[in-house]
Symmetry: none
Subunit: 206 residues, 4 copies
């Protein structure tokens, strides 16, 4: 695998080629969630996408690039979801904000549980480590900032960063692992409630 991945080799101009790119990404996503990263081969991707391998390489410089794009797409979705909520979060009570945040996190993952899990948990071991680390850090940072903004409403703490780290990773992992091992939890309102409670009790004065 080459070094700089993640850049598309050639921007698709026509509608036809944009569709091809989509098919490829979709195929990769499917394979990833069905057989895992081990079974993800360019030939398989191309076959599933219904295109020739060479076509795949017209838009992605190498396999890694596909994974990277997939990863970034997922991140974007999360970012967007977060951004969409963040304005309203300001106006709500912290408790309510937490509940909202947890719900939307679950929401994001509930759509395609295996895929998201594969992408977010598997990729770090397969894909560009940097990308993953930076991405995760970004989320932690966002939460840290949000917490600082309303620190007076929170339980006193020495390190905001550490607490944010714990909250983010705990929540994400719980959701990912649920997606993998207890998919039914993702649609169970009790799960969301419990998660929100976990976070709330950790962050707020009782």
């Amino acid at each position: 695998m080459a070094k700089r991945a993640h850049e598309r080799r050639k921007e698709p101009r026509q509608a036809r080629s944009r569709a091809t790119v989509d098919y490829i990404l979709e195929a990769a996503a499917q394979i990833l969630s069905e057989v895992g990263s081990g079974g993800l081969t360019t030939n398989r991707i191309a076959e599933r996408a219904g295109v020739a391998v060479a076509s795949l390489y017209q838009y992605f410089p190498n396999k890694q690039a596909i994974l990277d794009v997939l990863f970034e797409m997922q991140l974007s979705e999360e970012r967007d979801e977060f951004a969409r909520r963040s304005t309203t979060l300001q106006e709500k009570s912290v408790r309510e904000a937490i509940r909202e945040a947890v719900r939307s996190a679950i929401e994001v993952h509930a759509r395609r549980p295996t895929l998201v899990r594969s992408i977010l948990r598997a990729l770090p071991f397969v894909g560009t480590r940097d990308l993953h680390v930076r991405a995760r850090q970004e989320v932690v940072d966002a939460v840290t900032t949000a917490m600082r903004a309303r620190e007076n409403e929170l339980r006193p703490m020495k390190s905001v960063a550490m607490r944010a780290f714990l909250v983010v990773h705990a929540v994400e992992a719980a959701i990912h692992d649920a997606a993998g091992e207890r998919p039914e939890y993702l649609t169970d309102p009790a799960f969301a409630d419990e998660l929100a409670e976990l976070v709330g009790r950790f962050l707020l004065e009782d």
Copy 2:
């Protein structure tokens, strides 16, 4: 890769054999934590272990088996650690028990952070899914049982299982991710305190 793995092809009788097996496992572990599961090839393992590939196949039916053994070893270690504490845990307050449990979990992972992380987080995407799922379930079950035993001391809950699931996954993930992204946390007492607090506040009244 063959189908049934995880059984050693042949139990090593002599000391020499046992040493060979150890070298192999150690080599695999090293490679796993250094270059990740992608770079883990049988040839590389053999080379690092200082034996011929063919020798490797005298003790392991296939590559997967090595991973499985590695995984089980790690689990055993955790199980043992847990078992060792569990008797004493009975006699302590729940709060104290939690603190102990969290500490020992961190302890286990702190020894070889990258390795443990690789094994426990990466293997599920590479190795035998079943093994992993069963193992994780086992931990959740143990915690569930422990919680049931002292349910009256805990915050009322609808599903003990779900709460156990959340606690176990949250704690493990936090530790694993710390191992990967914030190794310094593993030796920071504040980290253990915070984690214990997270769990304590979630499980205990007020």
Copy 3:
């Protein structure tokens, strides 16, 4: 690669077309001298020429054809140079004629040393063997004829053909190799003098 190369698929009628063909040939030449025959791909040629690959195939039936045209162009240039001098050569002394011939040979190659070298030395191993052999033979024949015309002024010899062969190949190789390894020789008058001396001493009575 198809079989019949070297024929242009379609003679360009309009000026625009002719320009396109020129761009293609120029691009091929550049790539050839920059990265060698190994890096010469149709896609790369097209890209460098600023046209689509498909356009390239409107004027050349296949890649080989491009190389062939390039080769022929180079030959033509040499032929022309030779023809241009040959009339005047008649009137000069053999010694002077040799000097002139050597100078113009160097001249031809000095213009774009790497290119000429690539074309004349690399192509035979990549391109149409026949074309190359015939071309070289043609030069040898021309020299043979020239020598026969003034055989009485030359050192006695058994085989004019063999001596012509030696002279032609020695001179060409020296120039090509100089182009590749000692480019500064090409502009050093001493080099021309020495080459002329080499030939003169071989062909002429002392």
Copy 4:
């Protein structure tokens, strides 16, 4: 193709593997002289050698390495031939020494004309440029040294290096090209005589 070639990946220990290496080199040589460097693929080499591709890669890190070894073998042979003669050359007249040198040069190439030609003329355009340039330079240097040693017996010259360059390249090219286009020349004593004459007249007084 990777970067550092030419190093054998693994030294063959047993007789069997040494044979394998030989088969591979022989196969490569055959293909090279039959179809040229363009047709030289690792699969074809392996097939012709009667081994699996993977075996080939156990001894050569990549295709280039095979070419490099072939190239070096050829150079060694030339070096040896040269060394073998050089002692005796000292005792002979320059004229005789030249005759000897030319004869042995032809000798070396006459054994497997197409191969040698392929290797020495084709490789520079396919293989490691450095290797080739250094090798050629080595020969020129050796001749330069030899000429300096007996400079007083030679025709006066400004640059020994340039004259050596010319002689070496002229002779080699003539032989190579003869191998390719006039194989019969290689066994014709007249050819050797003429070549020796070419060199002798260039280097020696009147």
